[in-house]
Amino acid sequence: MNLQTDPSKGDGADGVQMSEADTDSIVVRFAGDSGDGVQLLGGQFAQATALDHNSLATFPDFPAEIRAPIGTTYGVSAFQIKFGSRMIKTSGDSPDVLVALNPAALKVNYKDLRTGGLIILDAGSFTERNLKKAGFDVDPREDGTLGGHRTIEIDISSLTLEATKPFDVTQKEALRGKNMWTLGLIYWMYDRSTDATEKFVAGKFGADSAVAQANIAALKAGHAYGETAEVSGDIQQTRVAEVEFAPGEYRLVTGAEALSWGLVAGCQLAGIDMTFCSYPITPSSPILHILSRLKNFGVTTFQAEDEIAAACSAIGASYAGNMGITASSGPGIALKTEAIGLAISTELPLVIVNTQRAGPSTGLPTKTEQSDLFLSVWGRNGDAPMVVLSAKSPSDCFETGIEAVRLATKYMTPVFLLSDGYIANAAEPWLIPSLSDYKPFPVSYRSEAEGFQPFSRDDETLARPWVKPGTPGLTHRIGGIEKADGSGNISYDPENHQRMTDLRTNKIAGIAKDIPAQAVELGNEGGKLAVVGWGSTFGPINRAVANMRDAGLDVAHIHIRNLWPLPENLIDLLGKFENVLVAEMNNGQMLTFLRSQTRQDIDGHLKVTGQPLTIKEVEDAIRARVQN
């Protein structure tokens, strides 16, 4: 139970409908300067929360600048976590608790706090200079700005300095312990052990180092501060009950981790080595970092000179018989489009991971969006169909990664795998699977010279044979010029081009038979309203639909994972609803796409703020369309 419950809590709309911000879950947001170590603080708290068997979801939200000028609003880094004693599906709409380590962090975040929420701020950082830098003309603690919230001021800066005094560290190093002090206090608030973090710090800096000791001292001091009730009853200790998780071994996993591991697992199931080629870009880079440490899995990573080279070298690797994979975001994906066309034309396997971010152009590099749907499905010269998949959550990236490798190798086609900045960075508990849970799909290379034609096709899949250069007797040439059906020789024949275009189209369309039928996530197969989503909006839509169904509304949730080809039954299924509402983080791409496919009059809830959808806004969108 959440002892901190305030009866006014909830989504606030009418005081009756409880949003997910209710008694069995808590949303905490940590915010500070990008040098304050807020992400580390959040990550540690998430680990400890998971170890206490709470369900959780996190949302790291950091600035594009590595170290923006200290104290400015654009240098604020934040980490939000929602945890609770029931299944958590989003990182939370509005925080119940905001920890602000400087005025700028307060400025950027206080408006998101729920009414009656708790603000803990580092009073030591509220100097005139910092207030000015944050753009406060008047001290917000004094002019009623924070009215409606409870505010606790603690001079975290000097308490940290105090705690770290006995150790041989510089003032600067000592102050870096602010995040640890804060973490200690928060650990006390939610009755969590400091053990794991102490171990982590010792491991990171070396147990005997002064820095480690100072950090641990700060951590303990924060914890003790809560314990000794120096907060004079303002903060109470809260114990959130354990969730009834299914039995098994769990871990926290981010989307970037699960995706990287899923791709490796896919290659293991296919029985081939991976060549991963990429060029650094936010928020895609973690995949390159993770895979570069997995060489003992037969993974070769290549940091190419640009995204064009990354896509092209991945194609070269696939041509040579490996699983060529490339990954990027935003403008980097745009650069790959010509190469993807080559992979479509030469019918080679390729996986392109797109960790989507807000665009156009450079857009908002660290903010999330799902606005590359058109680019993925339609964004190439010529009629150039390919497979497009999307992941719905951090752990789902593992499954989708495997599926991408399966389809690419089985059908000799490029596959777009769409993730986004939110999924990539967010963490959630994951019931760890075993590789043996998955059915292997070993690839086979052609080695039989008799009757070989580079563009002959498998009757069932329409895939052409995969031949590794080096195979005796099978020398042949391929390229991006139109190929004669079968022989693959250059052909300018009009009928042949029609036939090859049809073959490429039908090959991809036929994959619809090899993917799961479209299911209804929640609700009935027909009715007043279906809310349709894809990608990372799964969590907020699912919870909002669940809440509205509990409130008696006739609404269903349909989540589309296979964006191209679409599941065969999708169009019929959507036709069974009086109204269809697409909720997505772009300006109407799935909306337009589904209208074009179904010719149905579909409606949209569209948002491009660089922030995930909130449960409440989806609930509001549902209520605006169906009544009891």
Binding site: V264, K295, V299, I315, G316, A320
Partner: protein
């Protein structure tokens, strides 16, 4: 599968595919194609283990005419595709064929990186100083004043010298040849293939349709001896119809100078000996232009260094040697907890 019989020695024609060659009659590309096929046969290359990768352009059609594995890719990107091939299978013998536009305009970046990484490939740049396939626009190697459909008053941008660029990219092997000099080309190709690492070969190629005779001032038989110097490691840099011309360091300067033996007190002892491992000499040689200097041909620079794909492979093997990865262990690395 691999049957263990001594393979019959292949001939040049065994490297020719069954596809009709479609360059313009008289195009210099024909001669290069023949020279490559001949050289591969002489080297005892295995078609099954050989891959030709190209970008786009007239030159880039090359792979279709070879009875080897071949990949005609996209404009400028052949080095990137070839890099992927080589990373996935370092045992393949990978050749890149490219035009001056393909490799120095749209693909300049990839040429730079394949050379400086020292990927073990042979890079053949067919330099005709023109965009052949798109019907004759000037290229990054065209000389200032080149008239073309896009520069009716003559081009105004300064060209790049292919070999100078390659040296600047830290290529460890730089050579130059002329389309019609099959024997010399064959020698250069053999050296290029033997060299472990990126081998860069510029081939002066006549585009008979859009830039005919662009190189006649040093390729014509009548002037060739006086305008070309064929360099060989350890041998004097001597040329000329009567082998009485040579190169020396111009006294008191950092420049090369063309001198005549027997004139002005010059003796053979004054002539430089070619050292293909000397990069400073190489950079002076590649920059020479007629009429004041001869055009340098042959293996101008060769100074091997470890190749990239080998180093990458070594890291993968070293990681594997410490224990093959196990997926289930990986997924359980770090903090986990068990719910019973």
């Amino acid at each position: 599968m691999n049957v263990q019989v001594e393979p019959a020695k292949l001939k040049a024609k065994d490297f020719a595919s069954d596809q009709e060659v479609r360059w313009c009659p008289g195009c210099g590309d024909y001669a290069i194609l023949k020279a490559v096929q001949m050289a591969l046969a002489n080297m005892g290359a295995e078609p099954d283990n050989t891959v030709f990768v190209s970008g786009i352009g007239c030159a880039a059609r090359f792979p279709y005419y070879m009875a080897t594995y071949g990949f005609h890719t996209i404009h400028g990107r052949a080095p990137a595709v070839a890099s992927g091939v080589k990373l996935a299978n370092p045992d393949l013998d990978v050749w890149i064929v490219s035009g001056d536009g393909d490799s120095l305009s749209i693909g300049g970046n990839h040429l730079l990186h394949v050379l400086r990484r020292n990927m073990d490939v042979q890079f053949l740049l067919f330099n005709n100083e023109i965009y052949g396939l798109t019907k004759g626009q000037y290229s990054p190697t065209s000389r200032v004043g080149q008239k073309s459909p896009s520069t009716p008053q003559g081009s105004v941008d300064a060209p790049v010298d292919a070999c100078t660029f390659a040296l600047g990219c830290n290529a460890r092997f730089v050579a130059r040849g002329i389309d019609i000099q099959a024997k010399d080309l064959g020698h250069v190709f053999t050296r290029a293939r033997d060299h472990k690492g990126a081998s860069f070969v510029e081939i002066i190629q006549n585009c008979i349709v859009f830039n005919d005779d662009a190189f006649a001032h040093f390729t014509e038989k009548s002037v060739a001896k006086e305008t070309q110097i064929h360099v060989a490691h350890g041998e004097k840099l001597i040329y000329g119809a009567e082998s009485n011309k040579g190169l020396r360091i111009k006294p008191g300067s950092f420049e090369l100078e063309a001198v005549t033996i027997g004139e002005n007190g010059i003796t053979e002892d004054d002539i430089l000996v070619h050292d293909e491992t000397n990069k400073v000499l190489a950079s002076l040689l590649v920059a020479m232009k007629p009429p004041s200097m001869p055009v340098a041909l042959g293996v101008i620079y060769c100074d091997p260094a470890p190749s990239y794909e080998q180093a990458v492979k070594d890291q993968v093997e070293a990681a594997k040697a410490k224990g093959l990865g196990d997926m289930d262990t990986l997924l359980r690395s770090g903090s986990t907890w068990t719910v019973s």
